[in-house]
């Protein structure tokens, strides 16, 4: 029945609102329902979204308070609700990541070397900062062989992924 459907949808939206509030709160240090704009990316990620940097910038432009560097929940809520309802930034399937690494690993060796990866990550697409790069390399390079086995990496990181 149409009514049921509607109330079902409303419940769904209510649940989404709660989820968004729960993700927002830990960053609202002064309990004023505002967060620093630089945390928006983290909040979106924690809601199981996978936006690109460009996506995040676009989103921020929509919700930021007059370049104040802060975002208020009143504006964040509707925008984020829309994102979640439309599933705008869905998770990336494992196979796609695998393909992406294969682009780099032209010889199909099953691994990439740190130098190659660094060049790739820091020059292409939405480049990593030095800090991001260092972190990735330190965490995931096989120490003995000094290479990165990307299928292991993918397995590890997707194992941590939200269910």
């Amino acid at each position: 029945m149409a009514e049921d459907k509607e109330s079902g949808e409303n419940e769904n939206i209510l649940a989404i609102h709660r989820k968004i509030t729960a993700a927002f709160e830990p960053f609202d240090y002064e309990s004023k329902n505002t967060v620093d704009v630089r945390e928006i990316g983290t909040i979106m990620y924690s809601l199981d979204c996978f936006p690109t940097q460009a996506d995040i910038r676009e989103f921020i432009a929509e919700v930021e308070e007059n370049s104040s560097g802060t975002v208020h929940l009143d504006r964040f809520m509707p925008a984020m609700t829309k994102v979640l309802l439309e599933n705008k930034f869905p998770p990336i399937p494992r196979s796609k990541i695998f393909q992406a690494f294969k682009v780099l690993d032209k010889e199909q060796r099953g691994f990439v070397e740190p130098e190659e990866l660094t060049k790739f990550m820091m020059e292409e697409g939405e480049p990593f900062t030095q800090e991001e790069m260092d972190e990735m390399l330190t965490a995931h390079t096989n120490r003995k062989e000094n290479v990165i086995y990307y299928d292991k990496l993918i397995n590890k990181l997707t194992a941590d992924a939200p269910k």
Binding site: A22, T42, Y45, I92, A100
Partner: protein
């Protein structure tokens, strides 16, 4: 611009494909990083919440015991059990002191293989001490006492606020909390060099508690201070306080390592702690102190206080009757009249004549809480309590002037209170982001102060920076208040292996702080911050599960309120709000749910009975003990152990059956819970297996799995059990 070859010439052919691939990997990886960051934050939050609520619990306990002291007759058993921790043997005469702390008749046996000290101390001996401790040797109690006496003599000559300068291009090194972690101190000396004329140091408090080498750290710091009295400065921290030490492990450490003379050493340390300076000022511009400031902090007041009166910062100074030969009046006399006047005096020191802001209410509130508890539960004290009520009512009705005139003390009560509050703030406060100044209810002492208070304070005193410690920071340091406040923490891996770095600061004549970080690494290989999250997180969650289990009854109540159909199920949202309403830890429960509730839920509902089974902690020999009693024991194990240690006046590790019963009575009053005599007898029988009428405290705590052996051994200390418990099996060198 130069050559027209693009940066991605390598990928020319597949450049668009490459870009897409790069973006994909980048956003995928960044999501992982963000999620890890979230986990790190709440893990940290878990540890910190539990740490601070432990401190708050200790303060509450102490306030409670203080209230008992004030309001029970001297002859009551309860009071006798605990009175000795309030007894301040403030004998003014040096000869009495020298007799009590005389080390001269302590012989050092030939078999002793540790360092021998001769005074005055030389730098070679100080360095020798370092090496000895590094090799796990222990200093003989004779030398400990001698060293402490020399230290005490030196400290008495120091002002409340040390003023030093970076003249001659000397860089001053400043270290934060060490908390008994010898490895970190050794690391700092290794990286930075030991203290010397060219290398002055300031140590900013909290040298003891939690870590297992607190006494060694003290001995090292004191010995370098004796060798270089103008180049080593120590500030008092909130853990340089015997009341706090009872709970957080230092007392136990000393008594275990020094079985014969431990008590004497602890008594001497009480005096030494009270003589530690309160703050250090560098070049008149940088203030270094342990906790922080408040909106009423006044350095001119602090310069003048008699700091030695504050043996514990948690208690206002005793009002002394100076008439009787310099001895403290705190002697037990079976005299109700005397106790009446004593009540007046103590009341006067704790009530506030003027209505001052919320902070006063905070302290008063804890007193009011207990008055009802005590009245309700101590039935056989009914007569006494009736009398007490009359006395108290009379005291309250009197005007402040009357009370003051009843006292022969010359100290102005206003000044005394103000002084006490200032010292409390100095040692316990934390900075906050909002403007203003509010009581620090999380810790239970001091206040939270805002950027406006910092600004005002610095302007008033013509200073530019406050360096403080007191809070653990992941990077070992953190700036706040517009870089005008620097928090410095020197105990790395504090919450758990890999949890945080330690840091120290070097300050040259330019007074620009230069921070050096490190991480003691005996148990870690080089991990990125994100990698260590997993390990620390597991640790935090384990502790959290234990806390949840310890509150099972309250949680059950809360769930039942929501579960109106009595189906044994609650929704995720209800689960989260119920848990927060019981635990008050302000954690993101919804996010933590999948880690804390692993039993399968149907349609997003949680079966809470199943969940409790998941959490249950079972101990040996506990099946016949009432489950709710077990839960009580578990939840309040730190408080219980603290009370045990207080009751164990000769520090033997054993208490008599009778005292054991009295302890329970105390605890039942404090917790507002009915623990029947029968329950206690059952418990006692389980423990006193040899029926000799005495209970081994450690055995008791272990029998109920109240201490977790495994985690202790892993870590060498267990903060959450609040005892340095791997020492229970360390017998201590009888030759020492």
């Amino acid at each position: 611009m130069g050559c027209g070859v693009s940066k991605s010439s390598q990928f020319n052919k597949h450049s668009r494909k490459a870009i897409r691939a790069a973006v994909l990997i980048q956003r995928w990886y960044r999501q992982y990083v963000a999620r890890t960051e979230m986990r790190r934050r709440y893990t940290w939050h878990i540890f910190q919440s539990i740490e601070y609520s432990g401190e708050q619990a200790q303060i509450k306990l102490y306030n409670f015991l203080g209230y008992l002291m004030d309001n029970f007759t001297p002859s009551s058993t309860e009071r006798n059990l605990i009175s000795h921790i309030f007894r301040e043997n403030d004998v003014c005469w040096d000869s009495e002191w020298e007799r009590y702390f005389c080390y001269k008749n302590i012989e050092v046996p030939e078999v002793y293989s540790g360092p021998h000290l001769t005074f005055p101390l030389t730098v070679e001996q100080a360095v020798g001490l370092l090496e000895a401790f590094r090799s796990k040797k222990q200093l003989h109690s004779r030398y400990v006492l001698e060293l402490l006496l020399e230290t005490w003599k030196l400290l008495r000559m120091l002002p409340n606020i040390n003023r030093i300068s970076t003249c001659h291009s000397k860089e001053i090194t400043i270290c934060g909390d060490l908390h008994g972690q010898l490895e970190d101190l050794l690391l700092i000396f290794y990286k930075n060099g030991t203290p010397s004329l060219e290398k002055p140091y300031v140590f900013n408090g909290d040298f003891v508690d939690r870590g297992k080498d607190s006494i060694e750290i003290l001995l090292i710091l004191f010995s370098f201070m004796l060798v270089y009295p103008c180049d080593v400065y120590l500030n008092r921290g909130n853990h340089e306080d015997h009341i706090i030490n009872l709970r957080y492990g230092f007392t136990k450490e000393v008594l275990t390592k020094y079985k014969i003379h431990g008590k004497r050493i602890l008594k001497l340390l009480q005096k030494i702690f009270s003589w530690l300076p309160l703050a250090t000022i560098i070049d008149q511009k940088v203030l270094v102190l342990h906790g922080g400031i408040s909106d009423s902090t006044d350095l001119s007041v602090l310069t003048k206080v008699n700091r030695y009166n504050y043996v514990s910062a948690l208690r206002p100074p005793k009002r002394r009757n100076h008439s009787s030969a310099g001895m403290s009046i705190d002697i037990d006399m079976d005299d109700d009249l005397w106790s009446t006047s004593k009540i007046y005096q103590r009341r006067a020191s704790l009530t506030y004549p003027k209505p001052l802001g919320p902070r006063e209410c905070f302290h008063n509130r804890s007193l009011q809480d207990f008055s009802t508890r005590i009245k309700a539960n101590m039935e056989n004290e009914l007569e006494h309590s009736k009398r007490r009520e009359v006395i108290l009512a009379a005291a309250l009705h009197r005007s402040q002037q009357d009370i003051l005139s009843a006292s022969t003390d010359s100290m102005n009560s206003d000044n005394a209170k103000d002084e006490w509050r200032q010292i409390l703030d100095l040692l316990w406060s934390d900075p906050m982001n909002q403007d203003g100044c509010i009581p620090n209810e999380v810790r239970g002492g001091g206040c939270y102060w805002g950027p406006d208070v910092t600004e005002d304070f610095l302007n008033r005193h013509n200073m530019q920076l406050i360096i403080r410690s007191h809070e653990c920071k992941q990077e070992g340091y953190e700036f706040c208040h517009n870089r005008k406040v620097l928090t410095l923490f020197s105990a790395s891996n504090y919450y758990d292996v890999g949890s945080n770095r330690g840091a120290y600061v070097k300050l040259g004549p330019d007074l620009v702080p230069y921070v050096i970080q490190y991480q003691a690494s005996s148990m870690t290989r080089e991990l990125t911050a994100r990698q260590s999250v997993g390990r620390t997180e597991r640790s935090a969650l384990k502790v959290l599960r234990e806390q949840l289990f310890a509150h099972k009854s309250d949680l059950l109540c809360a769930f039942k309120k929501v579960d109106t159909k009595n189906a044994g199920l609650v929704s995720l949202i209800d689960w989260a709000s119920a848990v927060e309403s019981v635990m008050h830890l302000n954690l993101p429960w919804r996010m933590l749910r999948c880690q804390l509730v692993t039993c399968k839920s149907s349609d997003g509902m949680i079966d809470y009975y199943d969940w409790f089974n998941e959490l249950a902690i079972k101990g040996p020999n506990t099946d016949h003990i009432d489950q709710s009693l077990l839960e009580t024991l578990y939840r309040h194990r730190s408080t219980l152990e603290t009370i045990f240690r207080i009751v164990d006046t000769d520090n033997s590790g054993f208490i008599s059956m009778e005292d054991f019963r009295q302890t329970w009575k105390l605890l039942s009053v404090y917790l507002k819970m009915a623990i029947t005599d029968e329950d206690i007898c059952n418990l006692a029988e389980t423990i006193d297996s040899n029926h000799d009428g005495s209970i081994d405290i450690d055995e008791f705590m272990e029998a109920f799995r109240l201490t977790d052996k495994k985690s202790r051994l892993e870590r060498g200390r267990s903060m959450f059990m609040a005892t340095t418990s791997d020492l229970t099996k360390l017998e201590g060198d009888p030759n020492v």
